[in-house]
Amino acid sequence: MQELLQQLANGIAWGSIYALIALGYTMVYGILRLINFAHGDVYMVGAFAAFYLARWTGAGGAGATVGSALLVLLGAMAFCALLGVLIELLAYRPVRKSSRLTALITAIGVSLLLENLGIRIFGADPKFFPQIIPPQRVELVPGVMVTNHQITVVLVSILLLVGLTLFIHRSKTGKAMRAVAFNRDAASLMGIPVNRIITITFAIGSALAAAAGVLVGLTNPRIEPLMGIMPGIKAFVAAVLGGIGSIPGAVIGGLLMGVSEYLVVGYISSTYRDAIAFIILILVLLLKPAGLLGRNVAEKV
């Protein structure tokens, strides 16, 4: 029982990170019907941005405070928001009117570009993330240990999720985003600046990926330029599992991915750690192609 609880606690913390990345996939897909395969690499850039930011500001080590950690988090998010906007402007906007396959290939190209630029700029050897919050062990219930880092991960994820939901449902921009997702042409006829809304979507999605990158640096402090590939794929599966295009779906999918990964490694074998994502993907596509919370709508092209 203790062991199971420990696995669940760790799985939820890890799953929150998948959830944050999956949100970016889902938002972009919802609006553009584009699977942004470069998203996992934006997450990697987020982790590195935080790494260098923490170094320059001296936020790691002895001088670490909650304020400086927050500064690092927000800085990395801002940087990646900008990167997301740039990617949209330079790579996706020019091919938006072309076929979906073109957009998909472009996405893969951007992904490879970011990975290899990462190797060029940061070097191929792994870096070790500075401790921007000193680690502490917390006993949840007797025998089940988590760290303050894992608690932070879950809390920050919840905060960002609540903020995002409020933004989408309450703000004018959020309403416009939903309108664009529903029908881009009609939204445009109603006077919604579609291009600007798409840019904002990319900015928010990338900022969330950056947040995930920083949180990973906190709990699993080894970062390297190819670190985004696997989590990127898994978060994509999480988004499909939850129902791509659905925001609560992405969160549920992310958490399920994290927990099932832990259970598989803990009770079956670590060699199946990555296989589980693909088994889930196949099962979802076979049994419920729209995902858990997705609705089956006829494609209108």
Partner: protein, 398 residues
């Protein structure tokens, strides 16, 4: 016909391209050897230490006049810590650079990717620190200057059972890594033979970020120690995460832990743990102290780790064999400086014989004698970690 001519021209151009660097690479009075290693990637410090050790030895030797006036130059290739790149790197060294011998790799999996290439090309390869027994089984051109994993595994088991009086241990192996799997097996075998039990045997894959799922399973079995035969980047994270979920037992490991970065990554979580090393840096032996001081002077105060010391010795063994070749067969020695032809091939075969006949070579990691399987037989050193510092524990003879 036109098409045929086009092909011929293309082939000629290609041949010219390949031949050009070969033609320019060699100088008079110079022997070119190759080294491949992980200058980047997750085990970057291994490759950098090895390169430093080799260059230190060769530069000292060249400055002192070389091998009877002949200088030795080394060409270094980076394999990015990946076995498939290691194969590409040695192929390039042999085919393009025309090296007469190869030094490398640290990681057994990468040595095993390169060894068959060296064997079939007839180019002697000395690995400074690959400890998996299979490495030298590829043939008589492959040898090593370090001890092998069965010995290392036995020593760790003996240390756990006799010195620390532990009977219940857990093993956490890197399933993708030949070195780690081999060492885990030899350790388990020896620990059982001594009357201990391995109560939990879990695995991870090199480069994983999260180990808590497996560590949780290990913790539930309540072992007295955790043996992790992995490499330092993973070990540092594993020890941190073990403490985070409350698995507070000493960890034991092999020479894959050897890196100055280990303590930095582990952030104090490795206190009370033990590892095997190839030599001890504060050994009062004057030859070792000269090596340590030379190394520090040359590389900005960095302390040479066991891998740098082994690399230094691997270069030493190769140069000693070259020197013997010069003394006993000047013709063959000259052929090594010339182009790739049958005479050179015969010379390389002779060089291999001299390497394999190495006996009582006075290295900084102990006296090196190669046995019939071309493995070095020599003692291991146990190092403990206390309050964030390494300390000498014991020296164990084979």
């Amino acid at each position: 016909m036109i098409r045929f001519r086009k092909h011929v021209i293309a082939v000629l151009c290609l041949a010219l391209l390949i031949a050009l660097p070969l033609g320019c690479a060699k100088k008079e009075n110079e022997i070119v050897i190759g080294e491949y290693g992980s200058l980047t990637g997750p085990t970057a410090t291994f490759g950098i230490s090895t390169k430093n050790g080799i260059e230190l030895f060769l530069d000292n030797m060249n400055a002192a006049g070389g091998i009877g006036g002949t200088k030795v130059r080394v060409i270094v290739e980076d394999d990015q810590s990946r076995p498939e790149e290691a194969a590409t790197a040695v192929s390039k060294l042999i085919d393009q650079d025309g090296v007469v011998a190869v030094l490398g790799e640290v990681a057994s999996s990468r040595s095993m990717a390169a060894a068959p290439i060296c064997q079939s090309a007839g180019v002697p390869m000395i690995t400074p620190s690959s400890t998996n027994p299979k490495v030298t089984e590829f043939g008589d051109y492959i040898s090593r200057v370090c001890f092998i994993d069965p010995f290392q595994g036995q020593m760790i088991a003996k240390f756990a059972k006799e010195r620390l009086s532990f009977t219940r241990g857990a093993v956490f192996r890197d399933i993708k890594n030949d070195y780690s799997v081999g060492l885990a097996n030899y350790f388990t075998e020896a620990f059982h033979a001594l009357g201990g039990t391995v109560i939990s045997d879990e695995s991870y894959s090199e480069g994983d970020q999260d180990f808590k799922a497996q560590l949780t399973v290990i913790k539930s079995k309540k072992p007295q120690f955790l043996m992790v035969p992995g490499y330092y980047t993973d070990v540092g994270l594993i020890s941190r995460q073990a403490r985070e979920i409350g698995l507070d037992v000493p960890m034991l490991g092999g020479d894959g832990w050897v890196s100055d970065e280990l303590l930095e990554i582990a952030q104090g979580s490795l206190n009370g743990s033990y590892m095997v090393n190839h030599y001890w840096v504060d050994d009062p032996n004057p030859a070792i102290q000269k090596f340590v001081n030379d190394y520090r002077a040359r590389y900005g105060g960095a302390t040479p780790d066991g891998l740098a010391a082994l690399a230094y010795d691997a270069a030493g063994v190769l140069v000693a064999a070259l020197d013997r070749l010069r003394q006993e067969d000047a013709e063959a020695f000259r052929a090594l400086q010339g182009p790739r032809n049958d005479a050179q091939k015969a010379a390389r075969a002779k060089l291999k014989e001299f390497i394999n006949a190495t006996k009582d070579f006075p290295g900084v990691t102990g006296k090196i004698t190669l046995d019939a399987s071309r493995n070095a037989v020599k003692p291991a050193v146990f190092v403990g970690i206390k309050e964030g510092k390494y300390e000498f524990v014991a020296m164990v003879e084979p």
